[in-house]
């Protein structure tokens, strides 16, 4: 590790710890203690939901689906899953916001139509991604099951280094 990196690390660690300390002090001095349990539940809840539910689900779906599809579809499907996860988070907020509108200008759209439109955009994105992946130059390698057109082109051109 160079001296520059070593010193940068020290500055970042001390500076970051100071920022965290200021945040904790602000929380301590401005947030009533009666609100702490709820805030802590939400702090821990996000980690638990991600680490124990969402991430294992994503890994499992990837492990089960991706080997069963042609290579050109793997990237677009992985991207589609990311987009679907994002849409899922926003869809929950959209549906909850529409269910308990404080006035008609909050979430004025039909949430289900909005989610359907966004889902169509995700599907179109994945299809376009697969088309672009498939449109790349193809080599002559017959090993269609394991390699993308790109890897075939590269292999036919020889080692990269």
């Amino acid at each position: 590790m160079s001296a520059g990196v070593r010193w940068s690390r020290r500055v970042l660690l001390v500076g970051g710890a100071a920022l965290i300390g200021f945040g904790l002090w602000t929380a301590w001095s401005t947030v009533p203690s009666s609100q702490w349990p709820s805030a802590l539940v939400w702090l821990a809840g996000g980690v638990v939901v991600h680490d124990a539910v969402l991430a294992p689900l994503a890994v499992a779906v990837g492990a089960w689906v991706l080997p069963r599809v042609p290579p050109v579809w793997r990237g677009p499907l992985r991207g589609g899953l990311l987009a679907a996860g994002t849409l899922g988070v926003l869809a929950i907020a959209l549906v909850a916001g529409a269910a308990d509108r404080r006035n008609p200008s909050v979430v004025p759209q039909d949430p289900l139509a909005a989610i359907a439109a966004a889902a169509i955009a995700v599907v179109i994105g994945a299809v376009v991604g697969a088309f672009l992946a498939g449109a790349r130059p193809r080599g002559g390698d017959p090993d269609a099951d394991r390699a993308t057109s790109v890897s075939r082109a590269r292999r036919s051109a020889g080692p990269r280094r």
Binding site: V5, S8, R9, V11, L12, L13, G16, L19, I20, G21, G23, T26, A27, T30, S34, Q35, W36, P37, W42, L43, A44, V47, H50, A55, V59, A63, L66, P67, P76, R78, G79, L82, A83, T86, L87, V89, L90, A93, L94, A96, G97, D100, R101, R102, N103, P104, S105, V106, P108, A113, A114, A117, A118, V122, G129, R146, T148, R155, P159, R161
Partner: protein
């Protein structure tokens, strides 16, 4: 590469870091997604701080009425980037997920501290993004004050990002310097590893077991890394495209995932707090309503007709909400500085503006002298050529450029000229 030919073994319960073999978990991918997310968090922190300081002013950073679009821009960016952080955070957590399972779980006090800092980082960032998104949709399924918790958590998030960058710097620097298209040593056939590639400790070995067992072809791995980064970019831009219309009016038809449409609401303008929810539906429509003006020259009471008979001014001023939506509107009313002059005040004086609303965080606001002096700072009586809608603050509301929407006090009952020392 013999390991790559070994059939994936069954995982006995909890996996190990090296079980995750997808090239998406490569440090070069993690570092790039992290750089995007870290940059976004810095933008969120700065724009959030701007909003905090314009609502809780400090002497060393006075805000003024210029530029009129300043608050609109900063909060539009804040909420749009906040939405963009949803895919960035999901992608970052997914890419770095195998590190959760590193063994041994704790190698000593310093390692425990490092892992603790990651736990704080993940918890605070996830909390901030999730509660922030729910907040702009006005969904509050918790029992804490969003405002102060969001503010305090922002410091913890940015601090833990800085700590994380410090901890990971020896990994980040080489990871960002090497191309994602380069093949890892084992991918390129076991030859000597190029010096620019990240150290072995942070590179998951290829071909042990699989979370996505398809990635055995080396060039396919490079394609996967690039493809994942492209997907992150496209998804992030997609989220922006489907939400930013709540503040960029020409894109409003595409804003299907935004909580607001800048064209929808009474008189074509969204509303945050209605007269009914503020408890002013009766007092605001009472013909006996009078604006009470107090200043060094005494007190005057003006009816709405008195105000309409004064020099009317038209101003085009955006209403910009801390929740990210904004819309330009045309207001007719009386300049605040003209009202202040009626009771012996000057354009340099601060003015306290009180609403008919009883209680609540925004029942009154302080209008600093810099805003009082501005031509476009009005006590607005009409919107878009019509009398103000009750939900937009009838009989009169404050409108000033470059000011948080929550401080554009509605249903104004009293304006008090403040002189240094706080006395009227």
């Amino acid at each position: 590469m013999t390991a790559a030919r070994t059939p994936p073994r069954r995982l006995p319960g909890v996996p190990r870091a090296e079980d995750f073999r997808s090239p998406v978990h490569d440090p070069r991918v993690v570092a790039r997604v992290g750089a995007l997310l870290g940059g976004a968090i810095v933008v969120l922190f700065v724009t959030g701080l701007l909003s905090h300081l314009s609502q809780n002013p400090v002497p060393w950073l006075p805000f003024g009425p210029s530029p009129s679009w300043g608050y609109r821009l900063s909060q539009g960016v804040h909420v749009t980037v906040g939405f963009a952080c949803v895919p960035l955070l999901l992608a970052k957590l997914y890419a770095a997920y195998p590190r959760l399972f590193e063994r041994p779980a704790l190698r000593g006090p310093l390692h425990a501290l490092e892992r603790g800092s990651v736990a704080v980082l993940v918890a605070a960032t996830t909390f901030q993004i999730v509660t922030g998104v729910l907040n702009v949709f006005q969904v509050y399924p918790w029992k804490f004050s969003f405002l102060w918790v969001h503010y305090a958590a922002a410091w913890v998030v940015v601090g833990s990002v800085v700590v994380h960058v410090g901890v990971k710097l020896p990994v980040i620097v080489p990871a960002l310097r090497s191309s994602v298209a380069e093949l890892r040593a084992e991918e390129s056939g076991g030859g000597p590893r190029p010096p620019s590639v990240v150290p072995p400790a942070v590179v998951p070995p290829a071909g042990v077991a699989a979370d996505q067992g398809q990635e055995e072809d080396p060039a396919q791995a490079a394609t996967s890394r690039r493809g994942f980064l492209a997907a992150v970019a496209v998804t992030t831009l997609g989220v922006v495209a489907l939400t930013v219309g709540q503040t960029v009016r020409p894109l409003a038809p595409f804003a299907v995932l935004a909580p607001r449409d800048p064209r929808v609401g009474p008189q074509g303008l969204p509303v945050n707090k209605t007269a009914r929810s503020a408890g002013v539906a009766d007092t605001a429509t009472d013909p006996a309503w009078r604006l009470v003006l107090t200043g060094p020259g005494g007190t005057r009471e003006l009816s709405r007709d008195d105000l309409l008979a004064m020099d009317a001014v038209t101003a085009v001023v955006p209403i910009a909400c801390v929740e990210g939506w904004s819309a330009t509107a045309t207001w007719d009313g009386v300049r605040v500085r003209d009202l202040v002059a009626l009771v012996g005040g000057t354009a340099d004086d601060d003015v306290q503006v009180d609403s008919l609303q009883q209680g609540g965080s925004y029942a009154s606001s302080l209008l600093p002298g810099a805003y009082v002096a501005a031509e476009d700072t009005l006590l607005a009586l009409r919107l878009a050529g019509e009398d103000l809608d009750l939900d937009h603050g009838y009989p009169a509301r404050l409108v000033a450029p470059n000011r948080p929407g929550v401080l554009q006090t509605k249903w104004v009952a009293r304006m008090t000229v403040l002189r240094p020392g706080g006395a009227a």
